[in-house]
Subunit: 261 residues, 2 copies
Amino acid sequence: MSGGRVSVVGLGPGSEGLLAPAAAAAFRAADDLIGYFPYVAMAERLAGPLKATVHASDNRVEMDRARHAFELAASGRRVVVVSSGDPGIFAMATAVIEALHLEGEQGGEGAGADWSAVELEIIPGISAAQAAAALVGAPLGHDFCVLSLSDNLKPWDVIERRLELAASADLVLALYNPISKARPWQLGRAFEILRAHLPATTPVVLGRDVGRPAQSVTVTTLGEVTPEQVDMRTVVIVGSSQTRAFERSDGRTWVYTPRWY
Amino acid sequence: MSGGRVSVVGLGPGSEGLLAPAAAAAFRAADDLIGYFPYVAMAERLAGPLKATVHASDNRVEMDRARHAFELAASGRRVVVVSSGDPGIFAMATAVIEALHLEGEQGGEGAGADWSAVELEIIPGISAAQAAAALVGAPLGHDFCVLSLSDNLKPWDVIERRLELAASADLVLALYNPISKARPWQLGRAFEILRAHLPATTPVVLGRDVGRPAQSVTVTTLGEVTPEQVDMRTVVIVGSSQTRAFERSDGRTWVYTPRWY
């Protein structure tokens, strides 16, 4: 037993106040920190200075990162895989466990290292939709559905079908990965599908960089929202038929989905 | 302006390591702490000792608690409404905003106090399904749906319809309020509905008191799970057709939903 450990750790939305103490402690105890470079920098900003050796990488190499983590941990090191938000929600935990399952405890092809003695833990975090919801009230206060609009790893027709069914079920929707340069039209199509089921007055919340210094949040409606208001750093919450928005004397628009139906 | 504040604050799953520092700070700064009595006790255990006057109440008086919070804050006090998990997910944030919306800024009938100067903030937390998911891997790693099985505030046929549609959409399901003494048969019926759509081998995760001293987690299957294994302190995660479970050499069963579909 070499006793190494892989911890997959969520940054939360990106502020110190919403970073779990267990996550901060894991960053500080790490021998190695693996992740997408802005997330590694965020771990250092929120919990640093850190003693860890940093292995920052570009996006979309999740499986490589996962393998790398097990390889390092197999030699006894404490390895932290840094994830945005909650690692369990459209983030790194799935890739790490997928690597373990698909490649087996003996490690990947030609790897040689034995992963079986590596301890694995996932430290959850507050996800972007939760932080955005909290800024405007409680749009996720009733039944809801969390969907990624990215068709990199699933066919677009599956996404359309899920949007149709979720809207038929009158669920609030939290949409992750809503748009990117490589996926410019999908969000507009998603709004079209939802408009066929929901009134134009349905509240829509756009939370951008929530919890981070550049945070912004916009409350609009399904009738008025356009894809141009959204980028890849935005989480989009679309209400159900029951979701309400109202302006308070503080000048802010508050949004909630009632508990009753 | 009397400058009072209502903060609706999430305890997270119930461990210090997963309590947001902003939540702990809010508990410590509070003049008044309002909530269901076990949650108030948990706030004291996790962030105490606290200087706040405690107003503990029984369950199911959410609207009374919300009104009470605004009344106290209208006189300039810092009031914290304590919520389990994430206040925005089947918890206190909706009731607080509902009270504000329905009763207006002038306060409820006969209340007299002016709520308009009361600052309102929601501090999110890690919800039970996230903590349970993290203990077994990443069952929520792909599109998922969060449903309450309680028919106290919505008709049971709406719940059945949502279960049908969510299963047709092949979404992972996180079920809150799965069962209680007053609702003994609903969970069994929910499993029946899901069994019509999903294979008997579909992984099911039962997380009970996750994050708390008595924490337990069980991985079973949709074919084998029975309502007797579940109580009101359990969150139930039912996989999609893609969710996988496997045993590791650590003796634990890990569960994940792949990122691709």
